[in-house]
Symmetry: C2
Subunit: 215 residues, 2 copies
């Protein structure tokens, strides 16, 4: 598969800062702020003005000399770059504590996704109503994916269940994963799939390191 990225050469570090910019701009807009300079923006977010301008200019010239940036239109541009207005069809597998919380708590639409269905294995969970989704049994995965063609899957299953599950999902053309399991997906299927990891334990251990450094 040959891929032509829309923004070649843009560093992942830049991309990871965009949601933060988007969040702050949303806030500013709510507060009725119309324009902002890279300097003011930088002071709020704790970066340098240079970095803000460099980051934005990876994607285009959104500002105006002598004026700065229009808050509403910059927010819209970043939203467009992040494709948060999309509707990427998505499923969630593993409706334990965490899966349940994500289904209830995460605003998928706000981030460009459409959560189509929830799947679980346990008979005590299957059939339950979460928000407006009924939890389906994983045995229905093949049928469901063949019909609705989800592109992405949220993984909240136990690590041991990951290899078989992902093998099955890959056959059903699900190639993008929001991975909450501790299973190391990205190094297993490198280049074949796209994985965004949320390793809560890693994050917590990093905090442990930092706290113990200053203790």
């Amino acid at each position: 598969m040959i891929v032509l990225p829309k923004y070649p050469g843009v560093s992942p570090l830049v991309v990871r800062r965009l949601p933060r910019y988007y969040r702050l701009l949303t806030e500013l807009m709510k507060n009725g702020v119309e324009r902002i300079s890279s300097r003011e923006f930088a002071d709020m977010i704790g970066f340098t003005a240079s970095q803000i301008r460099q980051d934005l200019n990876c994607f285009g010239g959104f500002g105006q000399q002598g004026y700065g940036y229009n808050v509403a239109s910059l927010r819209a541009e970043i939203g467009r770059i992040l494709s948060v207005d999309g509707n990427l069809p998505t499923i969630l597998v593993g409706v334990g504590n965490l899966g349940l919380a994500l289904a209830n708590h995460v605003n998928f639409e706000y981030c460009g996704f459409q959560l189509l269905a929830l799947f679980d294995e346990s008979s005590s969970t299957v059939g339950k109503d979460i928000n407006h989704w009924t939890v389906r049994h994983v045995s229905e995965l093949t049928e469901f994916c063949t019909e609705h063609r989800p592109l992405a899957a949220v993984l909240c299953v136990p690590p041991s269940a990951v290899p078989d599950l992902v093998k099955k999902l890959m056959d059903l053309d699900v190639k993008c994963y929001w991975n909450f399991t501790q299973y190391d997906l990205s190094s297993l299927y490198r280049n074949e799939i796209l994985v965004e990891d949320v390793q809560l334990a890693d994050s917590l251990m990093t905090l442990s390191f930092q706290i113990n450094e200053i203790l």
Copy 2:
């Protein structure tokens, strides 16, 4: 407050890779692997052997020329560096879907923390039993913290509740936060507190960007 870090000059990028090393070493140990070279390790994790060796040598010489690294002892060293055997007294505030899931799902002990208590505001949640914790009302925070002196707090409250809550917690000497709210804590109290952010929406937007790049 003057702070003498235990590992001065070690980049946060290095620290963030340690939990990943720790996880792989735990896995290798389970599988009965006794020794590993930086090359084998690098191939598994998808880094270069050079980087592995550079990272580890920020903290000490844990290997042996001609042999490599002993899996068990390297794992122990990294665990010690991350202080995962600690018992940092910690509270969790905000027992909604996410807070509930974290209390149930995250292995705090495994990461060096001890979860002491859960707090919420809503009368429908207060009094409930989660694992072996009874949810307390936030009005008990002052009394509880004065008695048990937690160092860290997990924040799962709505963003609007953050400023007042953190002000109160700071007065009670809680200076370290695992922040799941969308409130931008780190830029508010820069240098006064230690914040580890888990921005799920940011992560999901990053995934959106990546998917739409290759679509």
